[in-house]
């Protein structure tokens, strides 16, 4: 059965490109446009992995990550954080909050696909 991937980002163009990319790799794709919606989707649809943008309205990626990781029922959901802010502190913060991996925008599509597969096989 195909793995489910949730794409949480508020930039429509990025969502379009990620959606196309993930579908082409054979994943089921869900979409959320802000932090609240992302949390709802995760609780309701139980994706295997979330591509989580940090700078989102309503709830930042960090808050979403923290909420998910503190819920034991959702602990096995992988989170890959994406951010356009490349500062080291952001990376460290994301990982400290329990994100499984972290990539800065813009990313190489091959690399992203590799990381996603890697995380799902673990």
């Amino acid at each position: 059965m195909a793995k489910k991937i949730l794409i949480a980002d508020d930039e429509p163009n990025i969502v379009i490109s990620l959606e196309f990319l993930m579908k082409r790799e054979g994943f089921d794709v869900l979409i959320a446009n802000d932090g609240d919606e992302a949390v709802q989707r995760i609780r309701g649809d139980r994706p295997d992995l979330v591509l989580l943008d940090v700078m989102m309205p309503k709830k930042s990626g960090f808050e979403v990550c923290q909420e998910i990781k503190s819920d034991p029922a959702l602990a096995d959901i992988r989170i890959l954080m994406l951010t356009a802010k490349g500062r080291d502190t952001e990376v460290a913060k994301g990982l400290a909050l329990g994100a499984d991996a972290y990539m800065t925008k813009p990313f190489a599509t091959k690399e992203l696909v590799e990381r996603v597969r890697e995380l799902l096989e673990r």
Binding site: E11, N13, S17, L21, N33, P106
Partner: protein
């Protein structure tokens, strides 16, 4: 009336109680639990000012002149209001230099002069021994009143007129001498404090106050029906009218009133007994605070019933029958109140004995240190040097002086009797001690006073006092021919003692006060200004004047050479006793961190210490002479003293500079810290800005890169998708270039490097143009634009492109947020003559209050992600910068749910318009 034995027994019982109090006070002092180390005791002991003269005489004075008894108490009240400034300084000086009498104070100030100390002592003795006699007289006549028949007293004569050996007054005087010797010269102390004596004096103050209040209350409320009743009766008697108005006797006037206030104000500080109690016996400077008001309050309390008693006496006895001075005793006696009369007598006894005791101690210290010791040093220098222990000799001299002073007082009392010279001695005595004021006060506040100046001033003042007050009082007593009083010496009218140089129209005391102080101050200033102070005088002057300013860096002494400890210690021991001296030196060694006397270095400081110790015992002038016998150095010249002082003031100036510098440094540090904080804040803002810019750049790059990579990797993507992706790439690229342009734009405006091309422009045309430019955008969003333009507005000088940019920005913002469909945008232009205003209103969702400030910040776009349109988040910040550049403002009004209005206004006359 009362049996003599009872009165004598009561008197001696009272004196025994006094002994007990003094003994207890000394015991407690020896145990280190002082009972006089107390502000209340101190203030009460100062009330030794109120003597028997006050106790009996005030009523007499009030009976003849109404409120003329009051200057004697108003003067001290005013003087005490300045005590915290003047007396505090005297206390500090006396403590620092171990000054034990007013003679020593003057001598020490003007270069430790024996001559000056002697002169002050003589003035004090001449001025105050008769005053002691007055106290004895009060006791004596009080006794006479109590034992004698009231009727026999109506001629105002004392009952005592038998041989001196039967005179109880002599035995009172001798008892007082014994008391004074016991508690005033128990041992030699370097501070000359007598705790037991002070305790007894404070006790006496309470007794005399209570006794006087008792008789006052008796007369006012028992014999009569309160103040109002007394006054009402007095008003009815035409004979008493003079008591109720200011100048009933019509002789002295306001000038005399003022002179009396001044005189009493000076006396309360310069009377030897007041100096002794207030300055020498002061244990703690802070006690002075309470004394500044408690002592005047005491004076007020003891005077409240003076006028009622006087009125009561006059109403009861009538004028001219009974001496008003005796009303306090005769009123109770006339009403058969023997017990009250006895109490009043004891109160008067306490007033008299308190004065006598303290005065005798003060005078004996002065006589010993400033009169006898210098003579011994002169006459029998070698004899003195040969004797090992002089403590016995010193104590002997003091005790002898006390007995002599009291016997002199008794003798004067026996000789003068009822003579004018004794009765009027109170004010005469005040005028004598007022002569100390110029030398003492001048010495405390003026560095220029010299020894000769002080000598000349004191001598002249004393001479004029004797000529204008003392000799006339002798003449009035019949001891001198009256001719000289009435016609002047040798018939020279201008030299008449009570109308000197024809000055008439004022009373004799004011007259004498004026001439004596004129001569005194004139000579003091004039002679002092004849030459510069010598080294000795300058050094002492500086030490006195700058007593409060003295820091650690200023030398306390001007000895240059040291002396051997084995020479200094025995020298001091000869006057203070071996044990006390060793204790003092050991304490000094400890305070300098040394283990014992053996380790003491023979430096100038030690010499100074020894001199100060000695000064307490034998006076500063003698101490200087004695110490110089072992130190053997030439006296300092003025230049040397000035050098030392200069150095000291340089050190002081230097440390002052250092303080200034360190303050400046602190200020600079604070400034730097603030600047650093500001820089950090700016740095943080810049970091945030960079981070935001990075984010804004990376976001479009992400889509561009991802989409291009996918198209490169996968040639099989269908043509529709490719077309869509390429469209996105193009628009994201546009977004990127727009962003780069705006960032550069903002940076330029903010840094002031932007170029402004100002022209005269018509805002109507500009707004019209902007609306037309955005017409297509509005049509795409299905929005309707309503434009309201006035017929004409004044032209404005500004950069057309920039302003167009602002209006376009506002319009495109509005377009982004209006609902689809049904969007509506209102644009209006207005002018109030000074400013042009543009409003752009939409019917979008509005902006919540919390966000209203935020939308003008960089990279903060309003709206949520779905409705958030393509934008960089820099449009509004740039617009605001532009509007502000032209001196205007840009703001937002919005109620959520009802749309938003962005407005800006520009002044027609803009400061920046021509840039």
């Amino acid at each position: 009336m009362l049996p003599g034995w009872l009165i004598v027994a009561a008197s001696f019982s009272y004196l025994l109680v006094l002994f007990a109090v003094a003994y207890f006070g000394d015991r407690r002092a020896d145990q280190g639990r002082s009972i006089i180390s107390n502000a209340w005791t101190y203030a009460l002991s100062i009330a030794v000012y109120c003597t028997a003269w006050t106790y009996f005489g005030s009523v007499g004075r009030a009976a003849s002149g109404g409120i003329w008894f009051l200057p004697t108490y108003l003067g001290p009240t005013l003087a005490m209001s300045l005590a915290w400034l003047v007396v505090l300084k005297m206390i500090r000086i006396a403590r620092t230099h171990r000054i034990t009498s007013i003679a020593d104070f003057v001598a020490s100030r003007y270069g430790k002069s024996h001559l000056l100390g002697g002169l002050v002592t003589i003035i004090a003795v001449v001025g105050t021994v008769p005053y002691i006699a007055l106290q004895l007289k009060a006791i004596s006549s009080g006794y006479g009143l109590l034992v004698g028949e009231l009727g026999a007293l109506r001629d105002g004569e004392g009952a005592v007129d038998s041989g001196w050996w039967t005179d109880g007054t002599l035995y009172i005087a001798l008892t007082l001498a014994l008391f004074t010797i016991l508690f005033g010269t128990r041992h030699l102390d370097t501070t000359e404090r007598h705790e037991g004596m002070v305790a007894a004096i404070a006790f006496e103050s309470v007794v005399k106050l209570l006794a006087f209040l008792a008789v006052g209350i008796y007369v006012t409320f028992v014999l009569y029906d309160g103040f109002g009743d007394l006054y009402a009766r007095a008003v009815a008697e035409p004979d008493l009218a003079g008591v109720l108005v200011f100048d009933g006797t019509g002789s002295i006037g306001y000038g005399g009133w003022f002179a009396h206030v001044v005189l009493a104000g000076l006396a309360v500080i310069f009377l030897p007994r007041q100096f002794q109690i207030m300055v020498v016996e002061n244990v703690n400077e802070q006690h002075l605070r309470r004394a500044t008001w408690l002592f005047p309050a005491y004076l007020l309390a003891i005077n409240i019933f003076v006028i009622p008693i006087a009125l009561g006496g006059l109403l009861h006895f009538g004028r001219g029958t009974v001496d008003p001075d005796t009303f306090v005793l005769t009123l109770p006696l006339a009403h058969d109140q023997a017990a009250l009369a006895l109490l009043v007598f004891v109160g008067g006894l306490s007033a008299a004995t308190g004065m006598v005791i303290v005065e005798a101690i003060a005078l004996s210290t002065m006589v010993c240190n400033d009169l006898v010791m210098p003579m011994l040093l002169h006459v029998r220098r070698f004899g003195l040097a040969a004797r090992r222990d002089l403590t016995g000799l010193l104590l002997g001299i003091r005790r002898g002086a006390i007995v002599v002073v009291l016997l002199l007082g008794y003798l004067y009392f026996r000789l003068a009797g009822e003579a004018y010279a004794l009765v009027s001695i109170g004010l005469i005595s005040f005028a004598a001690v007022a002569q100390f004021a110029p030398a003492v006060l001048g010495g405390m506040y003026w560095r220029g006073g010299t020894r000769e100046g002080a000598l000349a001033g004191l001598s002249a003042g004393f001479a004029v006092w004797a000529y204008t007050l003392l000799l006339p009082s002798f003449a009035k007593s019949g001891w001198l021919a009256r001719d000289f009083l009435d016609a002047g010496p040798f018939g020279i009218g201008l030299l008449m003692p009570e109308q000197l140089f024809g000055l008439g129209g004022i009373d004799n005391v004011s007259h004498a006060l004026f001439w004596s102080l004129l001569a005194n101050i004139g000579c003091y200033l004039g002679v002092s200004l004849l030459r510069a102070p010598t080294g000795q005088e300058a050094s002492q002057g500086t030490l006195f004047v700058d007593i409060f300013r003295r820091g650690e860096s200023v030398p306390t002494s001007f000895w240059r050479a040291g002396a051997e400890v084995r020479e200094l210690l025995p020298l001091v021991a000869r006057f203070l006793g071996e044990r006390r001296t060793r204790d003092a030196f050991a304490a000094y060694a400890r305070s300098h961190g040394l283990s014992g006397i053996d380790q003491l270095k023979a430096d100038p400081e030690l010499v100074h210490f020894a001199e100060t110790l000695l000064a307490g015992a034998i006076g500063s002038a003698s101490a200087r002479v004695m110490v110089s016998t072992v130190v053997k150095e030439e006296p300092l010249g003025l230049d040397e003293v000035m050098n030392i002082l200069d150095e000291a003031s340089q050190v002081r100036a230097y440390s002052h500079q250092l303080e200034e510098k360190s303050r400046a440094l602190e200020a600079a540090t604070a400034e730097l810290r603030a600047a650093n904080e500001q820089l950090k804040e700016l740095d943080r803002l810049k970091d945030d800005f960079m981070s935001s810019v990075t984010h804004e750049l990376r976001t479009p790059l992400t889509s561009i890169r991802a989409l291009s990579e996918m198209m490169v990797d996968d040639p099989d993507i269908d043509i529709d998708s490719r077309q869509r992706f390429l469209g996105i790439i193009v628009s994201e690229t546009e977004r990127l270039s727009r962003l780069v342009n705006q960032v550069l734009d903002l940076a330029k405006i903010e840094s002031g490097h932007a170029e402004w091309h100002n022209t005269d422009l018509d805002m109507r045309e500009l707004v019209q143009h902007a609306v037309e430019t955005t017409a297509q955008l509005m049509r795409d969003r299905g929005a309707i634009v309503e434009l309201a333009l006035p017929d004409a507005v004044p032209s404005l000088r500004a950069d057309r492109d920039r302003l167009l940019q602002v209006v376009l920005n506002l319009l495109s913002n509005a377009a982004k947020f209006v609902p689809v469909p049904g969007g509506k945008v209102w644009v209006s232009l207005g002018c109030d003559g000074e400013r042009i205003r543009v409003d752009v209103r939409d019917n979008g969702p509005g902006i919540p209050p919390a966000q209203q400030g935020v939308v003008f910040e960089k990279f903060r776009q309003g709206g949520d992600s779905l409705s958030r349109p393509q934008g960089t988040g820099l449009g509004l910040p740039i617009s605001r910068q532009i509007v502000e550049h032209f001196g205007g403002r840009l703001w937002l009004e919005s109620t959520p749910g009802e749309g938003a209005t962005f407005s800006f206004e520009l002044p027609l006359a803009s400061a920046a318009a021509d840039q």
